[in-house]
């Protein structure tokens, strides 16, 4: 469409149109074509000038014009489409936890993978260019909609019933006929038929306009508003404190703090259940497949009431609530969500409560509680005192033969106590204690403690005196304050889509002059439906028309 700045935009009906108007806003006469043109009119936005169509655009106008173009919008959509498909070639960095991306792609996928990483495609969806595309799509959504919706609203709000001949004859659906009956009668019959089809009628001396479902024209704009709210909500997640997300291990029975909140979450018990052979298809049983049935963490939420930030003292906790967290059934409290994510069934020693016994008589002097972490250093058992001198959680000997610990996990704990009391030297006598049976044998507890074990023994009576964490549950802890806005945006968007796609704005104009009937009809979608409706309405007034014949067809290229 070529716009020249000095064009006279005043229509013959006397209406002064804005620059860029294609069809006169009042009577609908095409302003640019001469009368010999019979092609179907371009009815987009009812031929009104869009906001952006200015005679001489400045810088701001140029930017505005750029984003107001549907063509640009489609190009942006296509670029985004191609860009996001690039991100699916290899897994994204965000799908791994604790992986060095600069090495991962090279070692896993070779040179191509390394190039992929160097191009930044391993984090496509967080990259500046992808975000820029989304921002541009968002801008296009806002500007395209604003640019069209207001003029369109005005045009539809003040429609003139009586349209120009040219306007009617150049609609896609046109019907012309010489009426032989009384025109007033015919018009009122037609009105009846139209009302039955739920059309709203306006009349003006010999001209009639029937319209229905105008609201569907607002569908696309409502959809766009929803999309904008959605995008803004996603953007809002970067507001400090609105979004938190991390994975954490929760060993059974140990409350773990949730950062930036007063809460502590504890895994009381983790269960994994598998389907029995009976419940699975025979083929699966044959292949030896196992299928999980249930992942569940019984969890307790605590609130810290004092000593929360103290580097030394243990925090004081109060139970808030309990919940069974399952896959597909997260725990929610005060905006904090906890999801079942993973598990580890390796048992871990928490504490042992051995007895101190007289080797000869077998008499017990009592028991004492040895915790694996934050171990106490002084114990009194009967007449004896034990002082912890050395502690190794994962005992081993280095090349020089000095004791050491291989890790901070209690895989092979060893404790060296100095015991003082009856029948022992004044300075005490050392006792190296291995709580686990396998270590007693491996490191020869008997041989190390040869002398003292003739007098005393440190031993657990039964498994009841051993406290073990059976499993570790990995939970995903999240906080997402913007979520309600995301859902609001999605809902509005859906409402707009349904309005726009499942209803169509239909208009029928009728003009009768000297027994000559001229009918034009327009819809924004579903011509098939409209032409059938027009044919049926005409049939109701005894005018036999073939639905197909009144449709001049819109796609003949």
């Amino acid at each position: 469409m070529v716009l020249t700045s000095f064009q006279n935009t005043k229509c013959e009906c006397g209406h002064q149109n804005a620059v860029g108007t294609v069809l006169c806003e009042a009577c609908g006469k095409p302003l640019y074509d001469d009368d010999s043109n019979h092609s179907i009119l371009e009815m987009r936005y009812d031929g009104v000038a869009r906001k952006s169509q200015k005679a001489s655009p400045g810088l701001i106008d140029s930017v505005w014009n750029f984003f107001s173009s549907v063509k640009i919008a489609v190009i942006l959509i296509v670029i985004t489409l191609v860009g996001s498909s690039l991100g699916t070639i290899y897994p994204q960095e965000s799908q791994f936890v604790n992986v060095d991306a600069s090495q991962y792609y090279k070692t896993t996928y070779g040179t191509l993978g390394h190039i992929y990483y160097l191009l930044g495609l391993s984090h496509t969806y967080e990259s500046w260019w992808f975000i820029t595309l989304l921002v541009m799509i968002g801008s296009s959504l806002v500007i395209c909609s604003l640019d069209r919706v207001l003029p369109l609203y005005r045009a539809l709000h003040k429609q003139k019933v009586r349209k120009h001949d040219q306007f009617l004859k150049r609609q896609r659906i046109v019907y012309e006929h010489e009426l032989t009956t009384d025109t007033e009668q015919w018009l009122s019959d037609t009105e009846q038929a139209l009302r039955k089809k739920r059309y709203r009628i306006t009349k003006n001396d010999g001209a009639l306009m029937a319209e229905k479902n105008r609201f569907s024209r607002w569908g696309p704009y409502i959809n766009h508003i929803g999309l904008i709210i959605f995008l803004l909500a996603v953007l809002a997640r970067s507001i400090p404190g609105w979004h938190m997300e991390y994975y954490a291990a929760f060993p059974q029975g140990e409350p773990r703090p949730i950062p930036d909140t007063p809460y502590y979450l504890q895994n009381d018990h983790f269960t994994v259940e598998y389907y029995s052979d009976k419940e699975m298809p025979e083929q699966f049983v044959k292949e030896g497949r196992v299928m999980p049935k249930l992942f569940e963490t019984k969890a307790t939420l605590f609130r810290c009431v004092s000593n929360c930030d103290d580097p030394v003292l243990e925090p004081k906790l109060e139970q808030v609530t309990k919940y069974d967290i399952r896959v597909n059934d997260p725990f929610e409290y005060d905006g904090i969500l906890a999801y079942q994510y993973d598990f580890d069934l390796t048992p871990k020693l928490i504490s042992v409560k051995p007895m101190l016994k007289d080797q000869k008589t077998g008499q017990s002097f009592g028991s004492f509680d040895v915790k694996m972490s934050n171990t106490e250093t002084q114990y009194t058992v009967g007449p004896y005192t034990l002082e912890l001198r050395e502690k190794y959680l994962d005992f081993a000997l280095d090349e020089k033969g000095t004791p050491m610990t291989k890790s901070q996990e209690p895989n092979a704990p060893a404790f060296v106590f100095v015991i003082k009391g009856p029948n022992l030297p004044e300075s005490g006598e050392p006792y190296m204690y291995f709580p686990l049976q396998k270590d007693k044998v491996r490191f020869q507890e008997e041989a190390i403690n040869r002398d003292i074990m003739k007098k005393l023994r440190i031993e657990v009576a039964s498994m009841n005196d051993v406290s073990i964490s059976e499993s570790t549950s990995y939970l995903n802890i999240r906080k997402d304050t913007a979520m309600p806005f995301v859902w609001v945006g999605a809902t509005i968007s859906m409402i707009g889509l349904v309005m726009g796609f499942y209803w169509q704005h239909r208009r029928i104009w009728i003009r009768i002059e000297h027994q000559q009937l001229l009918l034009g009809a327009h819809t924004n979608k579903n011509w098939f439906g409209l032409r059938n409706e027009v044919a049926r309405i005409l049939q109701a007034t005894q005018l036999e028309v073939d639905a197909k014949a009144i449709d001049r067809g819109g796609n003949k290229v």
């Binding site: 906001k51 701001i60 106008d61 930017v63 505005w64 604790n98 967080e126 990259s127 500046w128 992808f130 975000i131 820029t132 989304l134 921002v135 541009m136 968002g138 801008s139 806002v142 500007i143 604003l146 803004l232 953007l235 970067s238 703090p257 950062p259 930030d309 580097p311 030394v312 972490s373 934050n374 171990t375 250093t377 912890l388 001198r389 050395e390 502690k391 959680l393 994962d394 000095t402 050491m404 610990t405 291989k406 890790s407 901070q408």
Partner: protein, 174 residues
């Protein structure tokens, strides 16, 4: 009418520039949750071995070397003598060298310190909060913090006497 249009246009474009700019800016300059070279260190508050509670911000104005270690870690043991001699060399020249133990018992740390024969200050990160704040992954990790509280360098793995010397000299600007 025309003027109002213009105002509406400008307001909307301004909104887009601000919101869109902040989104793109966030993508371009990702704010790291853990300190990197050049960023400010988080303040940590820990108990010193056999002593009172200390905070990192108290040491402002001095160059600080923070060495995160654990008793099970071989390279941590190997680098201890280098740290100790650097401590001896620099302690009166505006440089603090601090070991931060990764969540072990006081007893274990005491035994370790006497076994290694080192006596520079050791802080106990019992709840591993400091290690989390510094985003510690491998042990040992050594942070070199400038007197203004910004990270000068980060060394992952065993630190050598030469590296200590170089970085410390750079930090105090001699």
């Amino acid at each position: 009418m025309g003027k109002r249009n213009k105002v509406v246009q400008i307001v909307i474009l301004a909104f887009i520039v601000v919101l869109g700019g902040s989104a793109i800016g966030a993508a371009l300059f990702k704010s790291e949750e853990v300190p990197v070279v050049g960023s400010r260190v988080p303040d940590i508050k820990l108990q010193q071995l056999n002593g009172e509670v200390r905070t990192l911000s108290d040491l402002k104005g001095k160059a600080v070397v923070l060495n995160f270690w654990g008793s099970w870690c071989e390279p941590c043991k190997r680098e201890m003598p280098a740290l100790q001699s650097a401590y001896d060399q620099w302690k009166n020249k505006g440089v603090d060298i601090i070991g931060v133990n990764y969540g072990e018992d006081e007893l274990v740390v005491n035994n370790f310190v006497s076994q290694m024969g080192v006596h520079f200050p050791m802080w106990l990160d019992r709840k591993k909060t400091a290690s989390k704040a510094f985003g510690i992954r491998p042990l040992p990790t050594t942070f070199f913090v400038n007197p203004d509280g910004k990270v000068h360098a980060i060394k992952l793995g065993e630190v050598t006497a030469e590296e200590l010397d170089t970085y410390i000299k750079q930090m105090i600007g001699s």
